[in-house]
């Protein structure tokens, strides 16, 4: 009985990276209006997927990243598939670098996040510009970049707390 309980608890905890990412997606959608900023939100989903693909890539699979992106696409109103594409890319980039970043400091991680953000967000901007065949305004893009970069430490801190509390005791699937 206790073995079954332990196993169930482990299974549930293994879903933590996905669920925390979904929670962040929802949080990012809340209509918290910054004054003088016209609906620019930080890319929370991107932060979560980047974090988990480095620290728990066994639990944050690529399909998981894709589904989180798809959920965000369905809940928001941009081109369907754009966030899915972005998050799969982020996952791939995170996975490729994870050996480098696992032992390194937070500052390194932050810098890497800046690079990934600086690659993925403008790529999305370009895709949308191509789809509409008109250059999109760059101010929201830059604002989103800076806002995401600024808020990353907070998300990193929260997710690492979560990981230490619930996933440190050898959750392997």
């Amino acid at each position: 009985m206790s073995a079954l309980l332990r196993q169930t608890s482990r299974r549930i905890r293994a879903l933590l990276p996905i669920f925390s990412s979904i929670a962040l997606v929802m949080f990012g959608l809340l209509p918290i209006g910054l004054p003088h900023f016209d609906s620019v939100g930080p890319a929370f989903a991107l932060m979560a997927v980047f974090y988990w693909s480095i620290f728990r890539s066994d639990l944050m699979t690529m399909a998981g990243a894709f589904l989180i992106g798809l959920l965000l696409d369905l809940l928001s109103a941009g081109p369907l598939g754009l966030n899915a594409l972005a998050l799969v890319l982020v996952h791939e980039l995170g996975m490729a670098q994870r050996k480098v970043f696992l032992g390194s400091s937070f500052l390194m991680n932050w810098a890497a996040f800046a690079l990934v953000l600086g690659a993925v967000l403008p790529a999305g901007w370009m895709i949308v510009s191509l789809l509409h065949w008109r250059l999109q305004p760059t101010v929201p893009l830059v604002a989103q970049l800076l806002l995401s970069l600024t808020l990353y430490p907070a998300v990193y801190w929260a997710l690492s707390k979560l990981e230490r509390r619930w996933l440190r005791t050898s959750v392997a699937v």
Partner: protein, 329 residues
């Protein structure tokens, strides 16, 4: 899944790596395919989105309350920071409005006597359903918002959404419990408008910037900074005269600023415009409601969604005029 050891791990590892590589390409292709599909089959995408919105609506509505508090706090700080500026603006505005009050009183009297002369019925009632914004567009490429009211409240595609001060956008996707609105600043927004003074027609075109452009303005029109723009009612989806925006620049294309602060949306009203007028084949049916034909159709129009404001449909007398959305100069 049990951990593989020994020989099987030695074989499985490369296969797994291969699968991983394949999965990456597969998912990339799937995402790219979705982007294309969403360009081609919009109705299917809209239905799916409406369904997902319906599912998450209770969660988002539940957290909308604390979010409202957070927004109020942010607004409070902002108000304090700009209190002097705001005070000055309000004083000047107040002085101007007092003059307008005189004008309005006189016009009201004129209007009433002219109506008596014409034996015209009062304005048609527009009823409203009020909903709360529970999510925004979620990205820097769209200007939309999700409302926690849907088909069950009588919301239908194309209806106008009014905020505090004027037009905000129109309904584009409707689920059972939630509806998405396209804000007038969105790239895909095209709104038939007219200049308040002179009535020159134009199209207000969003481009994702906070200041939409006024296009196809006739040559005779003289747009001046500070002039107001209202809906023209062309297209018949909603009535003429809803305040929309104020002209802020005229050099290198006319740009306007929406009267409603689109960065701080909370409660919004969806206007349930009289559909009998749209359905009527009589071309004069699309004319402003002052005409006598409109009077005859008036009793049929009141939908039952907003009982507080809707008069009884069977009532023989035309409904009393409801206040149009208050303009904020």
């Amino acid at each position: 899944m049990a951990r593989r050891t020994g020989r099987s791990a030695w074989i499985a590892a490369p296969i797994r790596a291969l699968l991983q590589r394949f999965a990456f390409l597969l998912l990339l292709a799937a995402a790219a395919g979705l982007i294309l599909v969403s360009r081609i089959d919009r109705p299917a995408v809209e239905r799916t989105r409406a369904l997902v919105a319906d599912v998450v609506e209770p969660v988002l509505t539940a957290v909308a309350q604390p979010v409202g508090v957070v927004n109020a706090a942010i607004g409070w700080v902002d108000d304090i920071l700009f209190v002097h500026e705001e005070n000055f603006r309000l004083r000047t505005e107040n002085a101007r409005l007092l003059q307008w009050q005189e004008v309005a009183r006189r016009l009201e009297q004129d209007n009433a006597s002219l109506r008596r002369l014409l034996a015209a019925g009062p304005d048609l009632t527009n009823t409203f359903v009020t909903g709360r914004v529970i999510a925004d567009g979620g990205g820097s490429f769209v200007r939309t918002a999700l409302l926690n009211i849907g088909a069950k409240d009588g919301v239908r595609k194309g209806q106008a959404v009014i905020g505090e001060g004027g037009y905000v956008g129109r309904v584009t996707e409707v689920g059972y419990r939630a509806a998405r609105i396209l804000l007038l600043t969105d790239l895909n927004s095209r709104l038939p408008v007219m200049l308040q003074e002179g009535g020159h027609r134009a199209v207000l075109t969003g481009d994702n910037s906070p200041f939409p452009r006024l296009e196809y303005l006739t040559g005779a029109a003289k747009p001046v900074i500070g002039m107001h723009v209202v809906t023209s009612g062309d297209g018949g989806q909603f009535p003429a005269g809803i305040p929309v925006a104020e002209i802020v620049s005229t050099d290198g294309g006319v740009r306007v600023r929406p009267l409603v602060d689109l960065g701080r949306l909370d409660f919004l009203r969806v206007m349930q415009f009289d559909e009998t007028r749209i359905d009527a084949e009589d071309p004069s049916a699309a004319l402003p409601p002052l005409l006598p034909q409109a009077q005859a159709q008036a009793p049929a129009q009141a939908p039952a969604q907003a009982p507080a404001q809707a008069p009884a449909p069977s009532s023989a007398t035309p409904p009393a005029s409801a206040p149009a959305p208050k303009p904020r100069p």
